[in-house]
């Protein structure tokens, strides 16, 4: 054994697998990767750097994802799923889901446990499955570009996504064959992309108005450290709302010019929405847009002509209130901080909707300074995710420690428990830096009580019922004792991945009951297995149609 001959080392580190950054947007998605210190936004086969977050289910059983699916949007809106991210985390019967159902042309049905499911061509899909198909496409684009297998990713979500929405996103990643190294907040990713390597010493606000969500994050950048100070948002506010307003206007015009029954032909709405989106984009360049488009209506033998002229003034009159709503949320974010919006060094815009001149103008008014114009709002989030991915995959070295960026993030929603009368008692308030933990002592409420059940909630409402239930923890096998005599200390912990875990300890006996709540994104094992099975067949179908041949 003391022969000098070399034996292979058991502990040799394998080459670090690449970690890509994926911005899984409501409307568009983007993938980036860091190679040799440089971030590359990865283009698809056609050179496009953005992909529509849309999935089309064609008649012949093929599945089309991304830009190709977007084309189906106007041709076959009932079988083309888009904006599915807006449903994520909303129970089927919630007001939000109801409103969305009225707006979207595809069919949404009730699944198990109140989850909304999408029904296309007689098959039901859970929301993570749709996201998984989009993620699979992004993974595929990255693999083609890099010429190697991609199995790990940082995926971004709106800052105000709750734990269950994050878990669903993580599940989507896993379904797409990706190990989700981190779920990262979109605005934080943007700040990272903006400040990376600049050696800043500044306070920044990231104003993120995407297709379906709005977030504002205030953050302090000092050198390599990015410390999130406060974050607020609304998962139901975004560019889609602007489109819907314009769609309403256009439908009124159309109705006036050519009376028709909208309810009987929902595809008209999808078509008009598409026109509205294009007009909104055109208004970002021109003061006034004139448009004539032919529309097929069941009531008329020939396609009719829709003729509209829109000005920025009209747009402002229709949409200013939507944009104003974002500043209420900004006020909320600043209410916790010792400084005002006007004290910031920079405002960064993220999300396609911030291209709208009205948004830029109102942002400038609110923050008292023009927003940064030198950042691509569509790509900046994916770039930040790629930087974080590289950081998380790097092996430790002193050099790495000193030179690579570090994010100090906060928890986006308050964590609490249900107490008597359905009141939610907050244990870890929103905006607490992670990792963090909180201890709380529970006592039995009746004599000889042998079990205590703790319901864990996330959300800002005092009424337990209005918050999202993350899970339930039952401590069984308690000592038989008079009421109140058994005291249990429960530790709630949120780690740097934003995941919640719980431990319990009997204070008198010191017995640790290492129960941990498994937060399952609201799906049972069985449902997840079913998703896996269903998805693999669709992924094969998608490979054939999108990539053309090497499934």
């Amino acid at each position: 054994m003391s022969t000098p001959q070399s034996a292979p080392l058991a502990q040799s580190p394998p080459p670090a697998p690449v970690v890509v950054g994926i911005d899984l947007g409501t409307t568009n998605s983007c993938v980036a990767v860091m190679i040799n210190g440089q971030v590359v936004v990865i283009p698809d086969e056609a050179g496009r750097r953005l992909q529509a977050s849309a999935v089309a289910f064609l008649e012949d059983g093929t599945v089309v994802i991304g830009e190709e699916a977007k084309r189906e949007l106007t041709r076959d809106p009932r079988n083309t799923v888009f904006s599915a991210k807006r449903f994520l985390g909303w129970p089927y019967d919630s007001d939000e889901a109801k409103r969305l159902r009225a707006q979207l042309p595809y069919r949404v049905v009730r699944g198990e446990d109140q989850n909304a499911m999408i029904e296309v061509r007689g098959e039901r899909y859970a929301l993570p499955e749709i996201s998984a198909l989009v993620l699979h496409r992004m993974r595929d684009i990255a693999e083609r570009y890099l010429g190697r297998e991609v199995t790990r990713a940082v995926i971004t979500v709106p800052a105000n996504f709750n734990d269950s929405q994050r878990q669903m996103t993580k599940l989507a990643g896993e379904l797409a064959g990706l190990e989700v190294v981190r779920i990262l907040n979109e605005p934080t990713a943007a700040a990272l992309a903006y400040g990376y390597g600049k050696g800043l010493d500044a306070s920044l606000a990231i104003y993120d108005l995407g297709g379906g969500t709005f977030d504002v994050t205030v953050l302090r950048a000092s050198g390599n450290i990015f410390e999130v100070l406060s974050t607020s948002g609304d998962t139901y506010l975004g560019g889609d709302d602007l489109d819907n307003r314009l769609t309403r206007v256009l439908l009124l015009y159309l109705q006036k010019q050519h009376p028709f029954n909208l309810d009987a032909q929902p595809e008209v709405r999808g078509f008009v929405k598409h026109i509205a989106e294009n007009m909104k984009k055109a208004l970002s360049t021109y003061e006034r847009v004139q448009l004539t488009e032919r529309v097929k209506l069941a009531e008329y033998p020939e396609p009719v002509e829709l003729s509209v002229a829109l000005s920025r003034d009209l747009f402002r009159a229709q949409c200013a209130d939507i944009v104003e709503r974002t500043f209420k949320i900004c006020d909320e974010a600043f209410s916790r901080l010792p400084f005002a919006p006007r004290d910031l060094s920079d405002v960064i815009l993220v999300g396609g909707s911030t291209r709208v001149p009205l948004v830029r103008e109102l942002v400038e008014r609110y923050f008292g300074r023009p927003p940064r114009a030198d950042i691509d709002p569509d790509e900046v989030v994916a770039v930040g995710a790629a930087i974080q991915g590289a950081m998380l995959s790097a092996p430790f070295s002193v050099e790495h420690t000193l030179s690579s960026p570090l994010l100090l993030d906060v928890t986006p929603a308050s964590l609490g428990v249900v107490t008597i009368q359905g009141i939610c008692e907050v244990l870890i308030p929103k905006n607490t830096p992670v990792p963090c933990e909180c201890r709380k002592v529970f006592a039995t409420t009746s004599d000889q009580q042998r079990e205590v059940t703790i319901q864990v909630l996330q959300g800002e409402s005092r009424a337990a019922a209005e918050n999202v239930k993350l899970g339930e923890l039952t401590l069984a096998g308690l000592r038989a004792a008079p009421r109140g005599a058994v005291q249990i200390e429960v530790t709630f912990e949120i780690d740097t991945d934003g995941l919640v875990s719980i431990r319990a300890r009997d204070l008198h006996t010191g017995v640790e009951q290492a129960s941990s709540v498994k937060v399952s994104a609201g799906y049972s094992e069985r449902e997840v297995r079913a998703m896996r099975g269903q998805l693999s067949s669709h992924v094969r179908a998608a490979d054939v149609s999108v990539v053309g041949g090497d499934a």
């Binding site: 003391s2 080392l9 502990q11 394998p14 050198g223 995959s393 830096p433």
Partner: protein
Amino acid sequence: MSAHPPAPTPAPLMTESVGPAAWVAPGAVALVAHPLEAQRAALGQLLATLGLTPALATGAADAAARLTPPALPPLGSLWVLFDEGAPTLALCERLAAIPQRVFWGVVALGQGAAEARAALMAAGVDAYLSYPFGRDDLARLALSVAQRRAPVSAFGALPPPLGTAVDKAWMQLERVDYYALLELPRDASAEQLQQRFHQRSLVLHPDRHRALKAPFPHVYDKLNELYKRLLEAYRVLSDPERRLMYDVALARGARRWDERVALELRELSARATRPEGRRALLEAERLRREGRWGQARAAVRAALALEPGRAELIELDGCYERVLRVIARDPSCAAAAAVGAP
């Protein structure tokens, strides 16, 4: 991914020139647990050439006995273990259970199957070395273990190896207050505080040690605990109101933030309505706890001056006045009075 990674290309550093100083802490002990005397001796010699002081155990049970206080060896030791069987696993458990686990690395030797290795890694073994191996293999492996532990050595002004530093910080965790944890003076400014916290975060944040999570969960968990406490300290000290209350709690002998104490102090300071007045009352409470009654009363009077005629403050001032009179007669009362309510 392939189950068998390709043979690593030896780093140029790993030649006969690998000196002991590169990774061996002064006075480091290597505990060898091997049932065969000849093997034991050969391993001991090998370790001695690396600058380690070998300690030889006849097997897992003997090694476990040497890991029991007061026989626990000093800081910065390298444990070399043998035998992948059950006794070694039990030994690993023993190692992991030592609350102040002070070591460089646990290395298992053998020719075990992948499952056995995985079990050992899960039990807290840092590395696995297959027979046959030479001095360089051992050195290379020890270096890699030491390097993996290196993150922790950047903790504070403590010298490498990092594992030792973290272990030390870990041992002190329940014994130090927030200022000591951050190695800051009590009067540190907000800027100093932020700067120090950022410095520590760069090396200690769990994201910096993600690579440790799967292979070395116990090291990762320890770092995570340590970082959580740093963050807790930073959160309390960076909020002026909380910091003031924490300082009072410190004067009363507490080390960590406690919501119940905070609630009590908020009630106490609510005798004043203005923020400056509340701060003055907290200041008075702290000074009183430190036995500085004269200064404490001055603070109460300052609060009273802000809103003269407020009954709650006049009453409090009266209490302080009475206590001061007692102390003037008998100074030995000061300490006793500091413990109770005013």
